[in-house]
Amino acid sequence: MYEFTYSKASSLDDATSQFGTAEEGKYMSGGMTLLPTLKQRLARPSNVIDLAEVPDMAGIEVSGGIVSIKAMTRHAAVAASADVQRAIPALAKLAGGIGDPMVRNRGTIGGSIANNDPAADYPGSVVGLGATIHTNKREIAGDDFFLDLFETALEEDEIITKVTYPVPDRAGYMKFPNPASRYCIVGVMVSQKGSEIRVGVTGAGACAFRVPEMESALASSFTPEAVADIKIPDGDLNGDIHASSEYRAHLVTIMAKRAVAEAIA
């Protein structure tokens, strides 16, 4: 790691003011991606501002058809939450499949979404369930949040405070994990809420995206067969040593089929 100055923020205002005076500030939540990035010298912040002691940043609430998860809630807490398991079992399952138990004991939902790793699980749930991202400044619709590789609608000093998910009628999440890291090679969240159908894909492209063709097919028939023959173009998909873009395109169809099967099971 390159040298940096570490500090704790005592409140959101304190965090943004520290960020404002830093030459190149970086917020830290669970640190499960930030620290490995720093260790590989892929980033060189002058200041790391730890949000761990900002009060009231963790917790889960389910009421009025909304699952509200504060930004610094650990993956393990989401996975183990009886409320989340009841309201959106696919979301609890997603959280329980991130990394491994030790990673889930530290990593947070806000950190994952703000970082926008193309292979992270949570972005798939944000577009696949139509979540809203709440920050210290505003609310951002999930569909408008992820812009490109590691790029989001967040302003430089903006901090996610919570994520709210409308409870769907049914939803399913399936991922094909990299066997070593458990990151998504492809992950698909499918949901239905009334007449609204969503198919959110993560792992395959630069950032999470929806598949309108699958959504309209599912609107006429919410069955695995409806998406079985829909192939997405592989041109813009990620290709690496783990999976070519053609293979990822293939996996999107397979994972979507299985996610629908899970949703109707």
Binding site: P36, V48, G99, P101, R182
Partner: protein, 158 residues
């Protein structure tokens, strides 16, 4: 720059004053001389560096030392009481759940986490295998490790 912090490790208080970027595992090994916690992959995958922070297993290669400020840290050295092995350690010995031994401290620390998460429930092999996914044994000695965790869970749940 340096940063000050204090935490409890294996029941003893320590006060640290280290470079901001010092990792917890580095501090535990190099400053405190507790070399039971290992560094395997250094990339958050192998689990050799697993310690307990306030009773929860975490990877100490992916935490700054200062992030443990105010916490209770337990390492493999802190498990035995009065010379008597922790039931998980005893089960690892009993079941020959180690070959070269490099992954063992991390395996033991995460395995205790598995039993804790399923307190009072009967663990099955599938659950143990799935929840050990954050620990890699390059001798591939998983079979006896799983046996040991199942055996220890019986004792720990008594």
């Amino acid at each position: 720059m340096s940063v000050k912090f204090s935490f409890t490790i294996n029941g003893k208080s320590v006060e640290g004053d280290v470079e901001d970027r010092t990792l917890l595992v580095q501090y535990i090994r190099e400053n405190l001389g507790l070399t039971g916690t290992h560094v395997g992959c250094d990339t958050t995958q192998c689990g050799c560096c697993t310690v307990h922070i306030d009773g929860t297993p975490m990877k100490s290669c992916t935490m700054l030392a200062v992030q443990a400020d105010g916490c209770e840290v337990t390492t493999i050295e802190g498990l035995a009481t009065d010379g008597e092995l922790h039931p998980m350690q005893a089960a690892f010995r009993e079941n020959h759940a180690l070959q070269c031994g490099f992954c063992t401290p991390g395996m033991v620390m995460s395995a205790i986490g598995i039993v804790d998460r399923h307190k009072g429930q009967k663990l099955d092999e599938k659950t143990v295998r799935r929840e050990l996914e954050g620990n890699i044994c390059r001798c591939t000695g998983y079979h006896n490790i799983v046996k040991a965790v199942l055996a220890a869970s019986e004792v720990m749940n008594k």
